[in-house]
């Protein structure tokens, strides 16, 4: 049956390591290039006998290792010095000593992983993990107690009769002709192997899950989990109220916060005076905040004519004489406490912004009832006649 099949090569088997070294050096001297030696264990001097050149794999390792070094140094430099500079432990942004360990790790990682990948792709022709010699009687013998040498058909000098004659001249134990397999299979794609991989994946992830979520909580392994320290937002018996996080002393005020004395008071005994001068910045801020928070109901110019008109109890126009006579402090009080349907805006608008809004309302008042001088001033300022 095998006569139909393609020949892969001619093999000779020896029983003594010295014989195979002699044979290998002779075959190398004959000028063959596509041939190999298979031995059950590494033989000293085989490299010289086969005239093998040192492997080039080391250069790939070196190159990828150095790339790893450069890559991680650039990454740490970019992330910590350019993209998101953050002071950590009072060190400079590019704190080189702190990055040395990770540089070392990545160098080693890239060097080793790339070596394995390069070996698989360049030398083993991944995804093929099959070789013609696999599962042959020849391979079984050379894995056990024989030393074999194979000269392949693909060698340009290959001539079956000559090769057989040459191999016979070494006085081998036997000579075998090795044929290609009928079909090439990739055992790594076989369902058995894939099932195996899935089982491994499940076992590893399940084991990790159990270790991290169950095992770590069993008594001898939870050494560091329960410590005598205050954990934020947890109970602690040290204090009477059992609160881990302490409440501030009564009357404590946040930094920069100025409390309003008449919060939730309907009729305050006095109205505060406006601490902000109507400067350009303050008016700009007031306009921005008015348009964001007030205009949805009161309208862009405080006329009470917004889109929501008639959908809620209508807000009053801010231009009635009654409202025009309000003190600044009253506006502030209303924004702070709310009025009728209008809610309190303390959460949305801070103190400064509220006073700025009050200033802006005054601007609207003046604009609605502009005098001749005002118009002249505007024309002078903007160079256009707004009256038209």
């Amino acid at each position: 049956m095998s006569n139909e099949r393609k020949i892969y090569g001619v093999a000779a088997l020896f029983t003594k390591p010295d014989d195979i070294i002699k044979a290998a050096s002779k075959v190398a001297n004959e000028g063959y290039s596509k041939w190999d030696v298979n031995t059950p264990y590494p033989l000293h001097g085989m490299d010289n006998a086969m005239k093998l050149k040192p492997s080039k794999l080391g250069f790939i390792t070196l190159f990828c290792g150095l790339s790893g070094t450069a890559l991680i140094l650039m990454l740490t430099y970019f992330t910590n010095s350019i993209d998101f500079p953050l002071v950590i432990g009072g060190k400079q942004f590019f704190a080189l000593p702190a990055y040395i360990p990770i540089t070392f790790e990545v160098t080693v990682l890239l060097a080793t992983v790339s070596t394995v990948i390069a070996m698989l792709t360049f030398f083993f022709k991944f995804p093929s993990n099959n070789h013609v010699l696999h599962d042959t009687p020849y391979m079984k013998k050379v894995s056990l107690d024989h030393f074999g040498i194979v000269i392949e058909v693909s060698d340009p000098k290959f001539e079956q009769s000559k090769v057989e004659e040459l191999l016979r001249s070494f006085d081998p134990e036997s000579i075998e002709i090795i044929y290609h397999k009928e079909e090439i299979k990739y055992p790594i794609f076989e369902p058995k192997f894939i099932t195996f991989l899935i089982i491994v994946a499940l076992a590893v992830s399940g084991g990790t899950y159990i270790t991290l979520n169950k095992l770590m909580f069993i008594t001898p392994f939870d050494w560091m989990m329960y410590q005598d320290k205050v954990i934020p937002q947890s109970r602690i018996e040290l204090f009477k109220d059992e609160r881990g996080m302490r409440t501030p002393v009564e009357g404590t005020v946040a930094k920069g916060f100025i409390p309003y004395p008449y919060l939730a008071v309907d009729e305050p005994p006095e109205y505060l005076s406006n601490p902000l001068i109507p400067s350009r910045e303050n008016l700009k801020l007031g306009k921005k905040k008015f348009l964001t928070y007030c205009s949805p109901c009161h309208g862009n110019f405080g006329d009470g004519d917004s889109r929501l008109h008639d959908q809620f109890p209508n807000p009053p126009s801010l231009h009635s004489q009654r409202i025009r006579n309000f003190e600044d402090g009253k506006f502030y009080h209303i924004i702070t406490n709310g009025k009728n349907v209008m809610p309190s805006y303390t959460a949305q608008i801070n103190r400064n912004e509220r006073w700025a809004i009050v200033n802006y309302i005054r601007v609207l008042h003046r604009a609605k009832n502009a005098s001749e001088q005002d118009l002249e001033l505007v024309i002078k300022e903007t160079g256009t006649n707004v009256a038209n």
């Binding site: 000293h44 040192p54 080391g58 432990g89 009072g90 000593p97 702190a98 040395i100 360990p101």
Partner: protein, 396 residues
């Protein structure tokens, strides 16, 4: 013994070597004495560096011998005698330490009573750092080393004539004990002689730091001797590039180990940023000492790392010779960097002095002299060692 292929005929080392050692030693000692009269402080500091350098080579060599016995190493057996020659310096350390003990006042400011009286920290350390305990420690430690040297080499020499395998067994036991004692004693030695020069500073890793340097220095000395002896044909032909590769690889490992330890010490102190620890490194960043600090990284790590990285480089006798000399210099430089910035008058930066170059000359002369004298008396390979044949047949 009859199994040894090439029967060993001892070839005497040339008289020239002995003479060279004596001449270098005399030049060094004479100039060193002049140095002691000109600038006793500087001379004492240099003597300390030379002395610790000798400890490194001698005790490091003894450690290598112990390591060979304890691990059952085979490849290093053919030149174990060379390592023993370097270890022969150990008993002489007992004498060499005496000038240092007379100059302690120049070296260690914790010996000044008026300084200690006004210094709380030094008072706290006084139970350990006091002159009498210090002297006792120095002698006890060298005494222990000398005893181990004496017994280990006596057994090894006896084996030359008797070939008794039991002696190897005895030495294995001795070696395992020695390695444990070595770990403790070398730490104490480094704390006493090197760290207490700046008594306010402390680093628990310092003992390992000094240990890594000693092994590098001892390996470099052994490698240099082996390559030179092999080149001139004093060692058997069967010592091949595979043996040299092993020496080179071990040197490479310990160069990396030194860098690892040195960096660990730096990283932890740098990270914690505690003033009582960082000042020691800041002293070494003062003025021109900064150049020394950077040079130390280049000399002790970067150059040897690159030079020994590839496999052919570790087998190349020329490269090994160069790197061995380089590493011996590097260790000397390391010790200089450790000690010198603490010298009164040198805090601001390096100041040139001819005295710095005198003591290394004496050290080299001394080592050569001891080596030549031992080589005259004894075989260059341990001919009676049961592992010798396998050691000669060693292949990668």
């Amino acid at each position: 013994m009859s199994q040894i292929d090439a029967h060993y005929n001892k070839k005497e080392l040339p008289e020239k070597l002995l003479r060279m050692g004596i001449i270098l030693l005399i030049i060094g000692v004479v100039l060193g004495l002049v140095g002691f009269f000109v600038d006793p402080t500087r001379a004492s500091f240099n003597y300390l560096i030379a002395y610790t350098f000798l400890i490194s080579i001698a005790v490091g060599a003894l450690f290598l011998i112990a390591l060979e016995y304890a691990t059952g190493a085979i490849w290093s057996v053919p030149f174990r005698r060379v390592t023993e020659f370097f270890a022969a310096i150990i008993p002489l350390l007992l004498i060499l330490v005496i000038p240092l003990l007379f100059n302690m006042h120049n070296l260690f400011h914790w010996t000044h009573e008026e300084v200690v009286a006004g210094d709380k920290i030094l008072q706290g350390k006084a139970p350990y750092l006091n002159v009498s305990f210090f002297v006792i420690r120095a002698f006890v430690i060298i005494g222990i080393w000398s005893l181990f040297y004496f017994f280990l080499t006596r057994n090894s020499l006896k084996q030359d004539s008797s070939g008794d395998q039991k002696l190897t067994g005895k030495n294995i036991k001795l070696s395992t004990v020695f390695i444990v004692i070595f770990a403790i004693t070398i730490s104490i030695t480094s704390f006493d002689w090197l760290m207490s020069v700046e008594p306010h500073w402390f680093s628990t890793i310092f003992g390992i730091y000094y240990f890594s340097g000693t092994v590098v220095a001892a390996l470099a000395a052994v490698t240099l001797a082996v390559v030179l002896l092999k080149e001139k044909g004093y060692l058997p032909e069967k010592i091949t590039s595979d043996h040299l590769y092993s020496l080179g690889a071990l040197m490479f490992v310990f160069v990396n180990f030194w860098a690892y330890i040195a960096f660990s010490q730096y990283l932890i102190i740098w990270y914690a940023d505690l003033p009582e620890e960082t000042f020691w490194f800041l002293q070494k960043w003062e003025g021109s000492w900064a150049i020394f600090s950077i040079l130390l990284i280049v000399i002790q790590f970067l150059v040897p790392f690159v030079a020994l990285l590839s496999k052919p480089a570790k087998m190349n006798p020329k490269r090994l010779k160069f790197i061995a000399i380089w590493l011996l210099f590097a260790h000397l430089f390391d010790l200089y960097w450790l000690v010198m910035p603490q010298m009164p008058g040198l805090e601001g930066g390096y100041v040139f002095s001819w005295i710095d170059f005198v003591f290394p000359i004496a050290t080299v002369g001394f080592v050569i002299l001891i080596f030549a004298m031992k080589a005259k008396k004894e075989n260059l390979i341990p001919v009676g060692d049961p592992k010798l044949q396998r050691g000669l047949d060693f292949h990668l």
